[in-house]
């Protein structure tokens, strides 16, 4: 050994010294020289180190819940419910809580870009001035009939603006579609309400004050219409606002989270929900005596009991329960309406409500009046028929430019619709996506909108509160990246275009459009009143929206509800497989937009506790017959496509049904979403029900073993539930 200290040794020693320093001083110097930059001019409502709270609207789903965002030194750090907001009264769901991970998502589209070749991922950065010119030219260079807008279910203000622009331009109205509306078959419910209750809109079901509630497939505790409002209603129903603890019965082939909270779960054969409603109606009518209403005249209870899988005794018991209730309520929804006979099912259930005499009553069915804000604009999503029309036009080359906002067609729409081919046939596709989703990847330009927490806007709350609510959005933080509000981009393009269009659309920016839109509310009897728009706007921002001062629901017309004869056609299914496929939107992934938020990925699914993946639920008996164990990868084959997923043996599902959550299976959409799980959208048929909605449950699939095993990350295994092996 030499006495010489080599350079290598010296470095080692120096490293050790540094390490010792770090240990002995608790990492002092490194964390010491942070810099604190005070405001140059502090906003008057800000105190150093104190949080500021802004009221805005959650846009993780179209329900329109009010939220209050805690911001700290210009950063949004926590989402809390808005306590005065009448939809959610200060409460939030898991998706709302995780919305911050959208704002601060590491995979956002950070600036306006042109893609050099669709799907190439080769982007050229543009300035916003260039972007406006691109939009302007797109509007100017094409005939109005060749311009199409495809929008999501939120935000409503953008849809109203787009409707105004297309009307002035002479272009077709924007098409609004999204997985939430699709899996709730909203048009079906509204159409049934139009036929039975005389008003084509989504009814409000006063769950809170009902004492006996039957739900026909409505998964109102998960994603249906307004889950937070209905969860609150559920809790009040259980605590017995109607006098005693309310009773809940759920009819559906797979025990959903909602059904797991029900007192009884009737695992009926898919497509027989409407029959059950008719049978219950007939039994209730019989028990009351007198002439049977026309609607329930031709009902054979015994045959229905046989066809549905529920025995007659149970039906009679349930009918007695319903007949004896003070505030009975029946709710149609979910997969029951997503069948070929979905419309008739919804009609039967609504007619049953009319028979029970709860229309417009406490604990019954009511309607929400329309607000004087762009009144007459469609608030429901478009039907699949209308969407298919657009797709056909695109395929035929009749659409030259397509604007896409708030929806991810290549992920959300049934693959059988072949939207990808249609999209490829459109010469110019402009996406306003905030995230690099599948559709943005197949677009020519991405002009990223702000994320919802950086945006202005409004959203009509899904009917669930006791009055109409217009929920307001405002930016809670300065835009994090070089993004721009889509409304502002459109308005700038319109102004640049000039001429009649600019005269017809006179707004200088998004906020002016919003203020002009809500002008009609200033003179209404709101819960706050203001003499003019500026004061109104200040309070609008403070409270996070506007709603009437008093409860204001209207009573549906019951006149024709029971006099129409109701017949339920047998449900038709596509495909030859032996299992009915039951697809439900994951309560955490929602329409798929939850998948890029790591904490939603790691939040366990309520029923299976699976994290970070998708799965297929099979009855344990069926699995045993097929020789399948948990985590075995199977291939599901429908006439429209095939996917692979790991098996989860789910004890509470009909043996002839398999279920799969929707929301995973992205091929793009950022690091947390891409390449994770599989999407049942590939298996769905393009089959419509009587209301023109997608009959998404109308498909049979085959199961093939693959021999592969892919373990699912589950929270429950840690607790040893299945730990016996």
């Amino acid at each position: 050994m030499t006495d010489k200290l080599t350079r290598r040794d010296f470095l080692k020693l120096a490293g050790a010294g540094a390490a010792a320093t770090a240990i002995l001083t608790g990492c002092g110097p490194a964390s010491r020289y942070v810099v604190r930059e005070p405001y140059t001019q502090m906003p008057e409502y800000t105190y150093n180190g104190q949080s500021t709270y802004y009221a805005t609207t959650c846009r993780e789903c179209p329900a329109g819940c009010g939220i209050v965002v805690r911001t700290h030194q210009g950063r949004a750090i926590k989402i809390e419910g808005n306590k005065s907001h009448l939809v959610n009264l200060g409460k939030t769901c898991a998706r709302g809580q995780a919305a911050l991970q959208g704002l601060y998502n590491p995979d956002r589209v950070q600036e306006p870009v042109r893609q050099n070749g669709r799907g190439s991922g080769d982007y050229t950065t543009l300035t916003w001035e260039d972007a406006v010119i691109v939009v302007k030219d797109a509007l100017a260079d094409n005939r109005p009939g060749e311009v199409a807008f495809l929008l999501g279910l939120a935000p409503d203000h953008l849809a109203d603006l787009a409707a105004e622009i297309t009307a002035a331009l002479g272009a077709p109205s924007p098409i609004r579609y999204g997985a939430y509306g699709m899996f709730e078959a909203r048009n079906t419910l509204a159409e049934a309400a139009g036929r039975v209750l005389g008003n084509r809109s989504l009814p409000v079901f006063d769950l809170a004050n009902a004492d006996v509630t039957f739900s026909f497939g409505a998964n109102f505790l998960e994603t249906w219409l307004s889950p937070v409002a209905y969860s609150r209603g559920y809790a009040r129903m259980r605590r017995g606002t109607a006098g005693s603890r309310g009773h809940l019965v759920q009819f559906e082939p797979r025990q959903s989270q909602t059904a797991s909270k029900a007192d009884e779960w009737i695992a009926c054969i898919p497509g027989t929900e409407g029959l059950l409603a008719l049978a219950l109606g007939r039994l209730v009518a019989e028990s009351r005596g007198g002439a049977l209403p026309e609607a329930f005249l031709d009902v054979d209870v015994v045959a229905i009991a046989a066809a549905s899988g529920a025995d007659e005794e149970t039906l009679r018991r349930l009918a007695a329960l319903l007949a004896g209730a003070e505030h009975p309520l029946v709710i149609p929804g979910g997969a029951a309406l997503g069948l070929s006979n979905g419309l008739e099912t919804a009609e039967a259930v609504l007619a049953l409500n009319a028979l029970l005499g709860n229309l417009g009553k406490t604990g019954g069915v009511s309607l929400t009046p329309e607000l004087p804000v762009h009144a007459g604009n469609r608030r429901l999503p478009n039907t699949l028929v209308e969407l298919a029309d657009l797709t056909e036009k695109m395929k035929a080359g009749k659409v030259k430019v397509l604007f896409i906002h708030g929806v991810n067609p290549l992920f959300e729409f049934p693959a059988a619709l072949d939207f990808a081919a249609a999209l490829a046939n459109v010469p110019l596709v402009i996406s306003f996506a905030s995230f690099p989703d599948e559709t943005a990847a197949q677009s020519d330009f991405i002009f990223p909108d702000h994320t919802p927490l950086e945006s202005w806007g409004y959203q009509f709350a899904a009917p669930a509160a006791d009055r109409p609510v217009l929920s307001g959005s405002q930016p809670v933080v300065v835009p994090f990246y070089n993004t721009r509000a889509t409304a502002d981009v459109l308005l700038a393009a319109v102004q640049a275009l000039g001429g009649d269009l600019a005269t017809a659309i006179p707004y200088k920016d998004e906020v002016e459009f919003l203020q002009q839109s809500v002008l009609g509310l200033v003179t209404e009897n709101g819960f706050f009143n203001a003499p003019e728009i500026n004061t109104f706007w200040a309070q609008w921002q403070q409270f996070g929206g506007w709603w009437t001062a008093d409860a204001a629901l209207t009573t549906p017309l019951a006149a024709s509800a029971l006099t129409r004869s109701l017949r339920l056609p047998e449900a038709e299914f596509e495909g030859e497989g032996e299992f009915l496929l039951h697809v439900f939107p994951s309560p955490l992934m929602g329409d798929g937009t939850g998948a890029n938020k790591p904490w939603l990925q790691e939040t366990p699914d309520p029923m299976t506790t699976v994290m970070w993946n998708s799965w297929v639920e099979i009855n344990p008996k069926t699995a045993e017959e097929l020789g399948l164990e948990d985590d075995d990868v199977v291939r599901l084959v429908s006439p429209f496509g095939e996917i692979e997923a790991s098996v989860y043996r789910y004890p509470a599902i009909r043996p002839d049904v398999i279920a799969m959550p929707f929301g995973q299976g992205h091929s793009a959409f950022g690091r947390y979403a891409a390449g994770r799980g599989s999407s049942p959208a590939r298996l769905l048929p393009v089959k419509i029900n009587g209301a023109g909605d997608l009959a998404f449950s109308a498909v049979k699939v085959r199961i093939e073993k693959t021999g592969k095993i892919r373990p699912l990350a589950r929270n429950e295994s840690r607790l040893g539930v299945y730990g016996e092996e």
């Binding site: 926590k78 889950p227 809790a235 025990q255």
Partner: protein
């Protein structure tokens, strides 16, 4: 003989200890929606661990919803969701086993406090916890830029080798107490809301002072449905569960 300078640590709890803060979980109302789980993660800077570690049971949930199955199809029933978090035991099994006093009892707040800067990661406390309420940072979990912008400045960001668990959102308790004191008043009932309680859409969670008989939480604890988890172990849990329906 000179008096020893080494402080004497002794358990001070007794059977009649009333506690201070308590939580009531109404399992009849809980819809299992997981809002509490996510809200807790957002408030308390809980890292996400990814699929592989989650599959190893290393997910860091401070609160989890337990669901079991009863019976067989078609008479199968999911048991009511049971939210399990640290029960803030009055006589906590995690405390005496910690060799470095990182798991200590707060005499002031009557909570079990995990002192992160003392913790050396022996995991004895987690092994001794009958509720499996503690989670361990097996790694320095990555929070890529700019996700770190949402970190709550009121809660320490833990690093690898640290044990952590539900704190009843002690940062909110302290903040509210401080605000009340600065205004010269007492904290009123319902003023402190841990993140889970605040989020819960069904209002299945109620938080408050259990030493105040008039508080909402005390009143609900009087319900005939009230039970405590593994009470027979003598842990004196501060979380009360309401089973069944009224």
């Amino acid at each position: 003989m000179a008096e020893s300078k080494i402080p004497v640590f002794s358990a001070k709890w007794s059977e009649e200890e009333k506690g201070k803060w308590g939580l009531v979980v109404d399992q009849d109302l809980c819809t299992g929606c997981q809002a509490c789980v996510t809200a807790c993660a957002m408030e308390n800077n809980i890292p996400f661990v990814g699929e592989e570690d989650a599959a190893y049971g290393r997910a860091m949930h401070w609160i989890r919803l337990e669901r079991f199955w009863e019976g067989e199809y078609p008479q199968v029933k999911a048991t009511p969701f049971q939210a399990v978090m640290c029960q803030q035991c009055g006589s906590a099994p995690c405390e005496p086993v910690c060799p470095v006093f990182a798991s200590v009892h707060s005499q002031n707040e009557q909570l079990n406090i995990q002192v992160y800067n003392r913790c050396v990661g022996t995991r004895y406390c987690a092994n001794n916890c009958p509720y499996v309420a503690r989670t361990f940072n097996w790694r320095d979990y990555d929070r890529p830029e700019p996700l770190n912008n949402q970190l709550n400045p009121d809660v320490t960001v833990r690093r690898r080798g640290i044990m952590e668990k539900c704190t009843f959102c002690v940062q909110r308790i302290r903040k509210t107490e401080d605000a009340a004191k600065s205004e010269g008043r007492d904290v009123y009932d319902g003023e402190v809301e841990p993140a889970c309680v605040q989020a819960c859409p069904a209002e299945a969670l109620v938080f408050g002072r259990i030493d105040d008989p008039e508080s909402a939480v005390s009143k609900r604890m009087q319900s005939g449905r009230a039970v405590k988890l593994l009470e027979e172990l003598g842990t004196q849990p501060r979380v009360t569960y309401l089973k069944g329906g009224d």
